[in-house]
Amino acid sequence: MRGEASAGLVPLGAASAEIASDGRLTILGAGPRPARRSRALARALFGTPLDAAITILVAGLLLWAAVPLVRWLLLDATFRGTTREDCTGTGACWVFVRARFGQFMYGFYPGDQRWRVDLAGLGLVASALLLFATPPFPRKRIVVALAVLCLPPLGVWLLYGGFGLRVVETRDWGGLMLTVFLSVYAALIAVPLGIVLALGRASRLPIIRLICTIVIEFWRGVPIIAVIFLASLLLPLILPNGAGIDRLARAVVGLGLCIAAYMAEAVRGGLQALPPGQREAAAALGLGYWRTTGLVVLPQALRVSLPALTNEFIALVKNTSLVLIVSIFDLLGIAQAALADPAWVGKTWEAYAFAGSIYWIACFGLSRWSRRIEARTALPGR
């Protein structure tokens, strides 16, 4: 109950306000003033001789590492040209990445069909914005539910084709597009399944609790790489017509099941954080199990477990690179495949630096975004 009194108030004492000529009020630096902040920083860094020594040492190390890195990445790097011979500098050869950029993004997706990938990507961004970034509007629930139900099959249709579109087999998919596809569709399996499993594990019915616990513990205990390997290689050996199921689909399902178990545990944390009074109050109001769960328990539990869920999602994005062992060329895989090109031999550093930075940007972006959602949905006073 701490801080409940100041719930709606921003501590304005430390902030300064400025009224611009058009009359708008801008709050500057909600928090300590810049001058005070820098003074505090200086005190923290150089307060004692020991602090100062550590600061200088660390700064020296950073400089020692960063200067050659920046020189290699940017200053001495070659950006223009078309072939390996254009890279005469001592720095990175970004010409390589430029020449192979289409492949890094789309894999071997046919050039004249790549608009479909772009469109699917746009759709993904738009639906994410609709889901998380728009203020509540009338019937938002229904619109969101429709979007969640209809868009994923639509996305598969757009990417794979059929029904009027040219079929692009999944073996031609690759690069960033495949990484995003794997992440999104594995998450689409993992999030609902994870919630169901978590609720099942918290259920009062022993059979359901047992089944869910076994499922969660099984998938949590198996390494993802083993699951992908089994899904890709063992399944076709066991099933009579196993080879008929698409390789990528098998990988997505395998990945989704593993992540679902992790997500279930994250949601369970949220369920346990819920004070028992909430359920009791819902029961007192005469709500049954489903309405209690849907209206009272889940909204609060999901809010609490959002950071953990984001964490799992970020881990998932990076785990998609494990599909490399079954020769599905995701972003990392396509980078490695490009390295084999005799026209671009020895550009190992560039390929990995580029792929790594895309992963980093994606994961950092996700993490910042989730912080914003957390801040927006946070309970006042918490």
């Binding site: 062992i325 490695q336 495949a337």
Partner: protein, 340 residues
């Protein structure tokens, strides 16, 4: 004894006659025809052997084999889809019928043949360990007496090389490095006279050197790692086709049939050429595939020599000499039984 011989002879005749009319069932061939393309397992990316360029077009000597098989079966060398396979995947994808045939840099060995449920249908590339040296310094491994060789410590290559030199009483100093990359860099900077690995790997390493033109890959090898198209057990008729498609590539070179002269060669005075190209003999029908199967291979893909030069040989960046991969009539080890 004589009764047995007669019986055996009669049986052979009967089997031959029966074979001409009704062929042994081949689920793999039926499946390939039904789906309209061949599924071929290849290496993830090894220039010269199987490699997809930035447009996703595959090339390489193994890829050429797959195209030849597609040309023979379906009359169209482009009707093949490639499944890149990692080291871990290569056997399971073949065993579980995700690919029809595996044409991937993989050494043929007894234990693999005997225990993995796979059959090797011939050799399309004699891989083997050899040396990368500076031009003019040494021509064959035995010339390396007194030289120094850079290797990665603890690798198979290190053991092979030191055993080989010891056995022949050659004084070669082996300089160990932690990683292959370090060893090749040390070679490039002149710390040693040679670097050792498999032919295919060396050919790829050579073009990464500062001055590739000044370095050569020896053609004589100190180990024996043959590679070739691989099928799973069962379906003898498909195995037959896989084996003879490779033989046809080799025979075409032997008989002087190239993609340029193949049309004239159809009426060659040489009966074996005519049988190969399907002008007579009906060899395709005996396997249950079109009679012009070998004609299509040579016309669309070329004979073995053409394929070799285009992918790993002198017309390619790798610039590998034929070496052991030359016809047996010209001092190599590449062999085909006759088309009779």
């Amino acid at each position: 004894m004589s009764t047995r011989l007669i019986l055996a002879g009669a049986f052979t005749l009967a089997a031959g006659a029966a074979g001409a009319q009704n062929l042994a069932p081949s689920p793999t061939l039926d499946a390939i025809k039904a789906r309209g393309h061949l599924e071929c397992g290849v290496h993830l990316g090894l220039p010269g052997f199987s490699f997809a360029n930035d447009k996703g077009e595959w090339s390489g000597i193994d890829v050429d084999y797959c195209r030849s098989l597609a040309a023979a079966l379906l009359g169209d060398a482009t009707k093949v889809k490639f499944t890149p396979t990692s080291v871990q995947q290569r056997w399971p994808v073949l065993q579980s019928a995700q690919v029809d045939v595996l044409a991937r840099n993989t050494t043929i060995t007894f234990t693999r043949n005997a225990t993995l449920g796979v059959n090797f249908q011939g050799i399309n590339f004699y891989e083997g360990q050899t040396f990368l040296v500076r031009k003019g310094s040494a021509a064959a491994p035995k010339d390396l007496d007194g030289a120094s060789v850079c290797v990665a410590a603890g690798s198979t290559e290190e053991k092979n090389a030191s055993d080989w030199f010891k056995e022949r009483n050659l004084k070669v100093s082996i300089i160990n490095f932690q990683k292959n990359d370090d060893a090749i860099q040390a070679y490039d900077s002149g710390r040693c006279d040679a670097y050792t690995a498999g032919i295919g790997a060396l050919a790829g390493q050579r073009i990464k050197l500062k001055d590739p033109a000044n370095n050569i890959v020896m053609t004589e090898t100190i180990s024996n790692d043959p590679q070739g198209p691989t099928t799973r057990w069962g379906d003898e008729r498909f195995q037959l086709v896989v084996r003879w498609v490779l033989n046809a590539q080799i025979a075409a070179e032997l008989l002087g049939v190239t993609s340029k002269n193949v049309d004239q060669m159809k009426t060659s005075p040489n009966a074996e050429v005519r049988r190969l190209l399907g002008t007579e003999g009906g060899f395709g029908a005996m396997m249950g595939i079109p009679n012009d199967w070998a004609y299509q291979i040579v016309k669309q893909v070329g004979n073995y020599g053409e394929s070799y030069e285009r992918t790993v040989g002198m017309d390619s960046p790798l610039k590998l000499a034929r070496g052991k991969n030359e016809l047996w009539t010209k001092g190599g080890a590449l062999f085909t039984p006759p088309f009779q």
